[in-house]
Symmetry: C2
């Protein structure tokens, strides 16, 4: 680069597009896609926003499990001065690519701007279709032991179960991993009654969405896969008309029957 | 009601409008507001969507702490056949009104439809402005002991800290409650080093938004109030250019320097 040329500063927007439904993409995410010169992401997520991409935009589509390469290429383009939108399903800040982008930026000494645009995460979307399971303290635990030692995952499941957190299980099962959800259920049953409501949501926000209300004891009867999220209630969670509801504590404190009217 | 008249079925949409920025309101939330005959909510949240409300819509504005009354009136109107949008800040499913609506619907034998429309919660929005703190397992704990016994809150803090969860503290402090965040810090310091990154975000998404990156030891030097959310990292969380980043584990597993390029 000629010394007289001003350095062009690029921007990497890490964009959460939510669970897949077009009407759960925020205007901020949409604008970031529209303003990008390059749109990068995992193929499945790019398909979900195909209607937002214009012919003159460059598209970098990659296969699953290519996260490092995907983030590295997006960062490199932004470091060259491009406006890049890196598309994530859900919220890039929850078990997604925001962290990897910063890790790589640190390693590479990236100079581009980085903006994280939050999205509706699986936990937000799944809670909504299940009713109101996350009304009280909750813990999110990924059952994938690809990058986390299994004993640490077990420790977290025990800790969260013993302290009566509502529990959101990410990555409960995949083609190659099927024992983790069985073990998670065993651990939960050491701390909670079998009738504890448990919700299984698969493909939330997509046309094939499936929502099942079950119990801790019976939840493995339901189909659970790579696109599933499982939410297990706390000791106060109840089922009501096909929904699972964790009370916040209003009833205990005020008595719902004689709440003061304003 | 005349027996010959068809029963009109109302709908209560419990609508998450996100943290306050107009461009983080999803199209689904916006449409629910536009289609409502009655828009109900806490005054501050109604102000944030004033631009969406039309003159012909009824507005039920209520003061803070009137949650039970607000939900009850919204349900009653929906039971009469109205389309009602009950507005919540953030995500109605996370420490907000979705649960109370179902509790009251159960108590009253409500017949209206209930739809929960998820929104960008404080935890999503705060994580985004702080960088990438929620890349690994995390626990959300409310420090409000108005409706939860303090010993249970302490138990959850100990459990989550000991199992190395990233921790999101909701309701860290208010005008009348100032000791809880001090005690929470003490508990965390029993399990984590003082240098652990801690982020304090106040008024996220609003014009007065404040984002502070601190450490577990020094976090109480920052202003913390009713509109604050505090995120405390796990043992691997690091600070980088004013952001806090929790690694997912790619570096340990693959070595970022020699990732395979596709």
């Amino acid at each position: 680069m000629n010394a007289a040329e001003p350095v062009k500063t690029g921007l990497l927007a890490v964009v959460g597009i939510g669970p897949g439904a077009a009407d759960l993409i925020t205007p901020r995410a949409r604008l970031a896609v529209e303003q990008a010169e390059v749109v990068a992401g995992y193929r499945t997520y790019l398909d979900l926003i195909a209607h937002l991409v214009r012919p003159e935009q460059d598209v970098l589509s990659s296969a699953m499990m290519q996260e490092i390469d995907r983030c590295r290429r997006a960062l490199a383009l932004a470091d060259e001065g491009k406006r890049v939108a890196l598309i994530c399903g859900g919220d890039p800040g929850i078990y997604a690519m925001a962290g990897l982008v910063y890790e790589l930026a640190k390693e590479n000494g990236s100079t581009c701007g980085i903006e994280i645009i939050p999205g509706i995460a699986a936990l937000n979307a799944c809670a909504a279709v299940l009713g109101a399971p996350l009304m009280h303290d909750f813990a999110a635990v990924s059952l994938s032991d690809l990058m986390t030692p299994w004993p640490l995952i077990e420790k977290r499941l025990h800790a969260a179960a013993a302290a009566d957190f509502v529990i959101v299980l990410y990555n409960p099962k995949s083609g190659r991993r099927s024992s983790q959800i069985v073990r998670a259920q065993e651990i939960m049953l050491e701390h909670r009654v079998p009738e504890t409501p448990a919700g299984i949501v698969t493909g939330v926000g997509r046309p094939h969405e499936s929502v099942r209300l079950s119990t801790l004891a019976r939840m493995l009867d339901e189909e659970i896969g790579m696109q599933s999220t499982v939410i297990i209630g706390n000791s106060a969670t109840f089922a009501f008309q096909g929904k699972m509801v964790t009370p916040r504590g209003y009833a205990a404190k005020y008595g719902l029957a004689d709440a003061v009217r304003s």
